[in-house]
């Protein structure tokens, strides 16, 4: 029996783009990986429900049209109204439709040990730290979001903070998609914190209201000994968009990575985080909140890999689903044989505001060491009736009471963000979204 593979329109558009012309810049650097990624797209297409990690997020059916890779245009674009981190003093690196936009950026002045390159400028001659220090994302063999990115990407940023340096302000990576035509924007990021460095890295992902596009970002992060990275992402894409993000983090000894993602926008969002604790005494926290309504679908897939001893990992996801929205959380923790004295905590909680909303959670522990403390839990439920009555009995109207409880629910996860100004923005965002 032969099975004929029929490609979806989205897959066909990608395959046609592969044929149209290989992007050769960077071939000397990652040509082999790019060739493999192209072959994977041509053969395997998009991930689908028969792949275990994608069983809830079948991109073959969820991406229902052609979204060819974007041709960076550089058209006039006003993105001021989408400035979600406006009240935080920070530097900004802007990308519109996947293209780096120096004109819309507010770049660091070179102080604070910041080295920053547009990826396009260094594709053919990457600095040593970039060429040698990165490449974990490729090692994740067959990872479909990464393959899509590797096959087509030409834009992005390489950012490095020198040893012992702490830049005076956070740096924001700002993504805007105009969706002026249906297309896929692809960007790639390399972030390296050298020994003892510290940085707050912000990301905002927005798009023109109700426009259809696919946004794909792949980020590789290396946090060296004693360095600390706080990484906060606010995803508020167009409600018709597809958001595909993939973050790889390596955490060395005594280093800290704290990632937080607020997922509020996009029709379909898939966030993947692969974190490897590679040095003793390292700490990782990957947390987030969902604010979903309508037919929104958001899926987070985490893999926390304890490779060595005496590290900690924490994950807390607080997910609110209204209407027909669907939230998914998949969290896998691996504790390798050498990783004694590991402490791992994982919790995912769904709050369902409608009978039709759905929350699926799949915690997974693979523990090969014996002296470890790992806990995980998942809950799902609707608003607590006793709390609602208590608030209403004090004169707080039903909707306002709901808003208070929902904001308190996601607020518990937002607490994880250490930057007070950013935390306030996220909290206000949650309250406003719920009131709208």
């Amino acid at each position: 029996m032969t099975t004929e593979i029929r490609h979806t329109p989205a897959e066909t558009a990608y395959i046609e783009a592969l044929a149209a012309g290989p992007r050769s810049a960077g071939d000397a650097w990652f040509g082999a990986e790019r060739a493999a990624a192209r072959a994977q797209i041509a053969d395997g297409g998009l991930p689908h429900r028969r792949m275990e990690a994608w069983r809830w997020t079948d991109l073959r059916s969820l991406i229902d049209d052609r979204f060819p890779p974007s041709e960076p245009a550089g058209a006039q674009q006003d993105i001021t109204s989408d400035d979600v981190f406006k009240s935080v003093e920070r530097w900004v690196v802007a990308f519109v439709d996947g293209a780096y936009r120096k004109d819309l950026s507010d770049l660091p002045d070179g102080s604070g040990g910041i080295e920053l390159h547009s990826l396009e400028d260094v594709l053919d001659a990457p600095p040593g730290w970039l060429r040698d220090g990165l490449g974990q994302a490729y090692a994740q063999e067959g990872e479909p979001i990464v393959a899509l990115n590797t096959a087509f990407v030409t834009q992005g940023l390489a950012l490095r903070i020198g040893a012992g340096e702490t830049p005076a302000k956070p740096i924001e990576l700002r993504f805007f998609n105009s969706g002026s035509q249906p297309q896929t924007s692809l960007t790639r990021f390399a972030v390296v914190l050298e020994e003892g460095a510290a940085l707050t890295l912000l990301e905002s992902h927005t798009g023109a209201a109700d426009r259809r596009y696919v946004a794909n970002t792949v980020t590789e992060i290396h946090v060296h000994r004693n360095a600390r990275l706080q990484h906060v992402r606010l995803q508020d894409e167009s409600m018709a968009a597809v958001h595909l993000s993939n973050v790889h983090v390596t955490i060395e000894g005594e280093a800290d990575y704290r990632g937080f993602t607020l997922s509020a926008g996009a029709r379909v969002a898939r966030n993947q985080v692969f974190a490897c604790l590679a040095g003793e005494g390292g700490n990782v926290d990957v947390s987030g909140a969902y604010l979903l309504g309508g037919r929104q679908h958001c899926d987070t897939a985490l893999l926390i890999d304890h490779a060595v001893a005496e590290c900690t990992s924490d994950e807390l996801f607080k997910c609110v689903m209204d209407d027909d929205a669907r939230g998914i959380f998949q969290g896998k923790i691996i504790v390798r044989p050498d990783a004694q004295k590991t402490e791992g905590m994982q919790m995912s909680q769904g709050l369902l505001l409608s009978e039709r909303a759905e929350f699926d959670s799949k915690p997974e522990l693979e523990i090969f060491a014996d002296d470890v403390r790992c806990t995980h839990g998942a809950t799902s439920g609707d608003l607590d009736e006793d709390m609602m009555f208590y608030l209403r009995s004090r004169g707080i109207p039903e909707n306002e009471a709901k808003g208070l409880l929902i904001a308190a629910f996601v607020g518990e996860a937002i607490e994880k963000v250490s930057n007070a100004g950013v935390r306030e923005i996220l909290n206000a965002y949650a309250v406003n979204r719920l009131n709208s």
Partner: protein, 249 residues
Amino acid sequence: MLEIKNLHVEIEGKPILRGIDLEIGAGEVHAIMGPNGSGKSTLSHVIAGRGGYEVTEGSILFNGEDLFDMEPEERAAAGVFLAFQYPIEIPGVATMTFLKTALNAQRRTRGEGELSTPEFMKLVREKSDALKISQDMLRRSVNVGFSGGEKKRAEVLQMAVLGPSLCVLDETDSGLDIDALRVVADGVNALRGPERGMIVITHYQRLLNYIVPDKVHVLSGGRIVRSGGKELALELEESGYAAYEADAA
């Protein structure tokens, strides 16, 4: 101000209140005493408007208005307040935020202007000092990590800040030591006035030494089986509820 007539209430088909008649005038304090399970909390919940109860007969009028036509928040804005027997913990909502939201929501509903933050802070400070409630407690989440006594004091603080005209206190004395009982009773007594009615629900006579009622009712088996003056409470202290439980059965 409050007229309860022939009130019958069921929970999941099981009769709990079986014909309550009770009238509270402005300025009066009524005590309701009775054994556990006699329906005291059910009565207080039905007055405040909690769901899950089926009123099969009877009515409650508050200042002439049918309470059953009003949502819990509307009853609150109209002046009904219930101090819960078991106050609810609400993680992530600061007590201060909660109080301010509640007070301003009630004021909006009544067509009064909202209080500014300084006005509100002044009011709360005044009331919380009197009840020996620390500012730190007000910054914490509603009732989370409060001791039993702190929860009861916090209920009385809410009552003092919101200034209702009908106060229903459901076993506000249970779990309090004698010092805490005094503080709470002083707080309640400070609210007594010609415009305000109170229902003080208690299992023990002790509280009524501090909050002296105008009338005492004995609730047993979902019915008021006896009413009298404040001396009835003392009598109950002597004889216990045994006689009434036999009555109800």
